[in-house]
């Protein structure tokens, strides 16, 4: 299929999805003062949009989505999230609160909750693996790691409503029963790029084999997302130079690494009166257009940490240079797509701090 035709399909699907969401928005008789609505506004609307119309996260108010997953899928997704794929877990919500949100999400469309058997699907995962490569890997990745970037996240243009989810994600596998997966494979998802494999000629046994293979991701350690905070949230180095010299060294090290000082100021400038005493707390913001643009493209919330920031302080007669450790950003934003960028940023910080203090 030519790229232009693919783009046209995506645009048409997007418009169709939007129209469906708008319809749900205007025709539903939801109680917006109910507990579920309040909890949804508090915990979900930032990403999934008011009325479930999507944004950062997937649009939830789609008839075919709500018609193809049961409440258990929604509840477990709320509870467990999708490790590394932006959707956070909500372990502190009570069961009652999760249920209230689930019922509110269900109210986005008039589709009844589908009933699924709890019977596991019996299939041959080895045969399923071959079918997966032929029918699924192009969108869902060779190992079920999902579409490029972070799937449905900040890191894709907003005109695409849905990207292929990570089927090997522990949160997904714990939320979707075999029968839920089988339903999606068999019938596809209307108004998304997910096509019906049945319509593409696969028989029920083929689809069972595929379900067995997808389920087998639970036991594979390779390519699974593991989110772990670094041991230290702050990078610190002591400088043998004077306060003033250390500031100059940092600026020189920034330039040595092909980056620019964006601005420099006393810590808390605009908030703390600069005339109060001899504060030795200098902040240097640095970066490049490319670095900032790359970071924001991976996750615009990175604006909390971009441009880069290094503080130089005198404390107890010693000069210290400090920065937040970029290695924590991947877990902080629950976004595995930030991993390479965070590693690169960590190396830049380490290099600058080392150069300035050695």
């Amino acid at each position: 299929m030519k790229p232009a035709l693919v783009l046209l399909c995506v645009v048409v699907l997007s418009l169709s999805a939007c129209a469906q969401v708008e319809r749900a928005e205007t025709t539903s008789d939801r109680d917006e003062d109910a507990t579920g609505a309040r909890l949804y506004a508090q915990h979900c609307s930032a990403c999934h949009g008011n009325y479930g119309r999507g944004g950062v996260g997937v649009p939830l108010a789609l008839e075919d989505f709500l018609g193809s997953v049961n409440n258990q899928y929604i509840s477990r997704t709320i509870r467990l999230g999708r490790p590394g794929r932006v959707m956070p877990p909500f372990p502190r919500l009570t069961d009652q609160e999760v249920q209230e949100i689930t019922e509110y999400v269900r109210s986005f469309h008039w589709a009844d909750e589908p009933i699924f058997s709890s019977e596991p699907v019996e299939g041959d995962p080895e045969l399923g693996a071959k079918l997966f490569i032929a029918f699924c890997a192009r969108c869902h990745g060779a190992n079920g790691e999902g579409g490029a970037g972070t799937g449905v996240s900040f890191s894709r243009p907003t005109f695409i409503p849905i990207l292929a989810p990570a089927l090997n994600n522990a949160g997904y596998l714990a939320s979707a029963t075999d029968q839920v997966i089988k339903r999606s494979l068999t019938l596809g998802r209307e108004r998304t790029p997910m096509r019906s494999l049945s319509a593409m000629g696969l028989r029920e046994q083929n689809i069972n084999d595929l379900v067995s293979y997808i389920r087998s991701f639970e036991t594979l350690s390779a390519d699974r997302v593991v989110m772990k905070r670094p041991a230290n949230a702050v990078l610190v180095r002591q400088s043998p130079y004077s306060y003033e010299q250390t500031i100059e060294n940092i600026k020189q090290a920034v330039a040595n690494n092909g980056l620019s000082v964006v601005r420099e100021e006393l810590l808390g400038e605009g908030i703390v009166d600069p005339g109060e005493g001899e504060r030795k707390q200098h902040v240097i913001y640095f970066g490049s257009l490319q670095m900032i643009s790359d970071g924001l493209a991976h996750d615009p919330r990175m604006g909390l940490f971009l441009p880069g920031k290094i503080t130089i302080v005198e404390h107890a007669g010693k000069i210290k240079v400090l920065a937040s450790n970029p290695e924590q950003y991947t877990t902080l934003f629950n976004n595995i797509a930030l991993s390479d960028f965070a590693t690169m940023l960590h190396e830049i910080y380490q290099t600058i701090l080392a150069e300035a203090t050695s």
Binding site: A41, Q42, S45, A46, C47, N50, G55, V56, R76, R79, L80, G81, P83, P88, P89, F90, P91, R92, P157, T158, F159, A170, A174, E218, M227, R229, A233, V234, V236, L267, G268, G270, I271, V272, D273, E276, R279, Q281, V283, L289, I292, S293, L296, A297, P300, R301, G303, L304, L306, P307, K309, T311, V313, H315, K320, A323, S324, T331, L332, F333
Partner: protein, 148 residues
């Protein structure tokens, strides 16, 4: 069922480490209204705000349909001064800030949860401060979320 329970338990243990490290809300106010309203809400709780900083360099050019992206730092002068002098390791996170991102006529607000700072800087003296910052930040964000 046992398999599912094990998966859930594993996820709960790992998930609780980083849940709610960020506070995010969506406001139905457009960016141009949301930004000054945010500053008003911050000031109403006794915090000072510094100039909003642009972070949306080349964002639209990269294909993302967001119309603006700013970061607002805020704090109480004495508190920022005292904390930064007493705890230099806190300075990379001071003053606190809220990022505000325009999105299709609405605004998305994101901030680091002060309780995250309480976890990574477990000093007893700081716990109460971060707890108060957390309460105030929730109030600020909820007021912006509910503003019409």
């Amino acid at each position: 069922m046992t398999r599912w329970l094990m998966a859930v338990l594993l996820l709960m243990v790992s998930g609780s480490l980083w849940a709610s490290d960020l506070l995010m809300v969506r406001s139905q106010l457009a960016f141009a209204e949301a930004q000054p309203r945010l500053e008003e809400e911050i000031n109403a709780l006794g915090y000072f705000t510094a100039n909003a900083r642009r972070v949306d360099i080349d964002l639209v050019g990269a294909g993302f349909a967001r119309d603006a992206h700013r970061s607002i730092t805020y704090g109480k002068p004495d508190e920022i001064k005292t904390l930064s002098e007493r705890y230099p390791e806190l300075t990379p996170f001071l003053p606190p800030q809220i990022a505000i991102i325009g999105e299709r006529g609405e605004s998305l607000l994101v901030a680091l949860n002060p309780l995250y700072l309480a976890e990574i800087f477990p000093h007893s003296e700081l716990a109460d401060i971060f707890e108060r910052w957390h309460r105030d930040l929730q109030t600020i964000l909820e007021n912006i979320r509910d503003a019409r």
